[in-house]
């Protein structure tokens, strides 16, 4: 899953916008955006954070500068567990030519020492968007970890697992309808790219427009497919 392969696959699947959200890392966003420029696809810089409560939470940023600033927060708060490559695989950082630039030696599936509300505050300070991931999943989702939606959670949207749909989750938890509901592929392999997505009605495929949709009249401007 190198950046160039991801972008080729996304083009193949006719996606206009993708986000790179590695576990607890924003470091691949730069090379992905550089490649994206050549292919004419929008790549949003982000990360999938693992909070203290072990809730997976997506963060998206307007540009690389913001993502880099957020990387500092990750570095300051990630629980440091050395990666064991023989178990978890190598965590290589590669460039647009697939040359290895670095290897991350901290285990990236580890959790942050900060809780979900703290993470939300920091992402918002950097003018990013926060979306608790796969909230209907039985592990690492908002509901499994916290039992119910905390009152007044400042999330910008909620994400449903791509496999969800007929599990009755929405009927059981109608309160999630207060937030925009997104479905993404959460692709962990090239084959999974595009297996779920969300359509946004935008003037142009840029982060600021997505933010505008999610914070405004989202009801008629997004559709999960």
């Amino acid at each position: 899953m190198s950046p160039v392969n991801i972008i080729r696959q996304a083009m193949e699947k006719n996606l206009d916008i993708i986000a790179i959200t590695d576990h607890n890392s924003t470091k691949h966003c730069r090379s992905a955006q550089q490649i994206a420029g050549k292919y004419g696809i929008t790549v949003i810089a982000g990360a999938e954070l693992n909070t203290k409560e072990e809730i997976h939470c997506l963060a998206f940023f307007e540009n690389i500068t913001r993502a880099d600033q957020f990387q500092q927060y990750i570095d300051d708060n990630l629980t440091v567990i050395p990666n064991k490559a023989e178990i978890y695989g190598h965590q290589y950082l590669v460039d647009e030519n697939e040359d290895i630039l670095d290897e991350e030696d901290r285990l990236l599936v580890a959790a942050l020492r900060t809780g979900i509300e703290d993470v939300i505050t920091e992402v918002h300070r950097l003018e990013g968007l926060v979306v608790p991931a796969h909230i209907n999943r039985m592990y690492n989702g908002l509901y499994s970890q916290l039992g119910f939606l905390p009152a007044g959670l400042m999330a910008d949207a909620l994400e449903l697992d791509r496999r969800a749909g007929n599990d009755g989750f929405f009927q059981k938890h109608p309160e999630i309808g207060r937030y925009p509901l997104l479905r993404n592929s959460d692709a962990h392999s090239l084959q999974q790219i595009g297996t779920a997505s969300t359509e946004y009605w935008l003037e142009s495929p840029v982060f600021s427009e997505i933010r505008q949709v999610l914070s405004g009249d989202w009801n008629n401007r997004i559709k999960s497919i």
């Binding site: 203290k52 979900i116 509300e117 499994s144 039992g147």
Partner: protein, 116 residues
Amino acid sequence: MITVADLVKEFGLEVICGADKLQSPLKGAYASDLLSDVMGKAVEGDVWITMQTHRNIIAVASLKELAAILIVNGGRPEPETVTSASSEGVVLLGTNERSFAACGKLYKLMERDALV
């Protein structure tokens, strides 16, 4: 009958919140860090052993009428968690013990009173 106060005394626990509610009897215990699981499995009068500190733990304890929450590993609850415990009247305890040790000690104490 074992009370929350006995537990505090026996194990030298820190009382973070609810010092006036330590006389409630302890009926059992449940250990889990998944709040959805605790909502399903814990029963009224349990002490709940966890490392979670998010404010939702207070609502769960209140909903299930738990005798107390014991935060292990020296975990510090967020200020909103303490505020919420205080307004909901939930007993919040703390210990530097790890989860397994805390459970083991508690089990022994409760075994003595045939609570497990």
